[in-house]
């Protein structure tokens, strides 16, 4: 394959994934509004289009057309840079995710993964850790007490929970003996559900730690203290309006989707079928390519559903409870999990 072909195919993949991801973000917002609505015994958005399905498009148009207000007291360069960092980092990390079977190739290039990196998992963690600056700088440059408090809370929360999050993934890496996301998924492919890391791999504790830390990492309820509206108006994005606000909003949902993808790949067997070999592979080539993608999307959807369910059910934590929980419980349990997994792998 020539370099030109490589560039064209890569650009094509990037374009498709970005568009799909942004659509996913838009419809995750709708999913959340609908579900929270049902949880609170109301219908949620239902007027625009059938079942309110066109609501995200209308919301997008509204965000574009709103007046863009930049307060006079902000520190302009960073105020403008912050939403770009937040959304950029949220969109980039999806690049290493394998959405479907690596068997589907064009000229020896994976069709369902933008780039197959040896250290894929670390790339996701690294880009997520850079994403913090979006929130931190937004709060600081806004020159507003609420914003600053929101971003301080957010930075402290992210630093604390990133530790537990990273450590919870070590068990999975130990089992797969690789940081490559494709290899990690393939290591769970053997017998469907039974060889997934969450069940067969005995990583269910790690999964629960990951789940909790991921909620905190994406600033979602019950850990949404950086934007706790009852205390901080809107936290770090108080001073943002129009599309800049929408960018933070999109970044949050894109991060949710990324976290869902990582959970799917690391604990739920990625694109592999939960039934393993019980159901024989379909003969149709097209179906063979599409079925793994279906499983992947289905698992991510379940994860997003859980996200919204938790938001609709649990009250918000207090800040000291949050810190206590992260440092005194999650972190030691994550370390114990690593020790346990290593011992088990060494002496089985």
């Amino acid at each position: 394959m020539t370099i030109l072909q490589f560039v064209i195919w890569s650009l094509l993949k990037v374009a498709v994934v970005t568009v799909v991801l942004l659509m996913g973000v838009a419809y995750t917002v709708l999913l959340e509004r609908k579900l929270v609505g049902r949880i609170q015994n109301r219908w949620g958005p239902s007027r625009v289009g059938p079942f309110g399905l066109l609501q995200p498009l209308v919301d997008g148009a509204k965000s574009f057309l709103k007046e863009d207000i930049i307060p006079t007291a902000v520190y302009r360069p960073l105020y403008l840079l912050a939403p770009i960092i937040a959304l950029g980092c949220a969109l980039i990390s999806i690049a290493v995710v394998p959405f479907g079977s690596p068997a589907v190739t064009v000229n020896g290039m994976h069709l369902f993964q933008i780039s197959d990196v040896n250290i894929g998992l670390l790339v996701v963690l690294g880009i997520t850790s850079i994403g913090v600056y979006g929130i931190a700088l937004a709060g600081w440059s806004s020159n507003n007490k609420y914003s600053l408090l929101g971003s301080l809370r957010s930075s402290a929360q992210l630093i604390s929970y990133e530790l537990a999050l990273g450590l919870s993934l070590v068990g999975v890496v130990l089992r797969a003996q690789s940081l490559n996301l494709r290899v990690i998924v393939e290591s769970q492919a053997g017998k469907g559900l039974l060889t997934w890391n969450i069940f067969g791999g005995l990583q269910i504790i790690a999964f629960l730690i990951y789940l909790t830390a991921a909620f905190a990492e994406t600033n979602r309820a019950p850990f949404d203290l950086p934007e706790a509206e009852s205390e901080l108006t809107a936290g770090y994005h108080t001073e943002y309006s129009s599309m800049k606000f929408a960018m933070f909003f999109m970044a949050e949902y894109a991060n949710m989707i990324t976290v869902g993808c990582v959970a799917t790949m690391l604990f739920l067997g990625g694109w592999t079928s939960p039934f393993g070999n019980l159901i024989p592979l379909p003969q149709n080539i097209l179906l063979q390519a599409i079925l793994p993608i279906f499983w992947f999307v289905f698992k991510v959807f379940c994860f997003l559903f859980l996200y919204v369910w938790v938001r609709g059910t649990l009250p918000r934590f207090r800040y000291d409870q949050l810190m206590n929980f992260g440092w005194r419980y999650l972190l030691p349990i994550a370390i114990l999990n690593i020790v346990g997994t290593s011992l088990w792998l060494a002496y089985r």
């Binding site: 990196v117 250290i119 670390l122 850790s129 850079i130 600056y133 600081w140 630093i159």
Partner: protein, 170 residues
Amino acid sequence: MHLILFVLFAGLCLAGAINLLLQSHPINSALSLIVVMTSLAVLYLLLGAEFLAAAQVIVYAGAIMVLFTFVVMLLNAGQEERTLGSRAARTVGFPAVAAILGVLATIVLKAQGLGTASLSDGITPTEQLSAELFTKLLLPFEVTSVLILIAILGAVALARRGDGERTEGK
């Protein structure tokens, strides 16, 4: 290709470092330092050290610098005051810096058997790195972790000082 990337990111790294010194606002300096760290990560990647590159981004750019910006935001540090610099710094500082750089340069140029690193497609896999780290370099590796442990204990001791009157656990 490798050379172009190297020149690009080495330039970015230097520009970030110079900007770090010239900026008068602490948060701009901190951000320049992040640029330096991340372009260093790209340079590591060009040399084939992929794990090191990722660790550089996660640990330095992602964790340590977040703490830096956190502190700057928490203290709400204002503009730095410009002075013309002390006379002692100018008379002793510049020659001292030149001398140290000269010594370092001669040592590096004269040293033999440092091994070579080249800009190439080759990549050191993480397995190889960890094998090296946990066999050949085990002692320095573990001693470093003890050093970090001591630093943590020191931080805890400092943080608890003067906490005597207050009762345990609030």
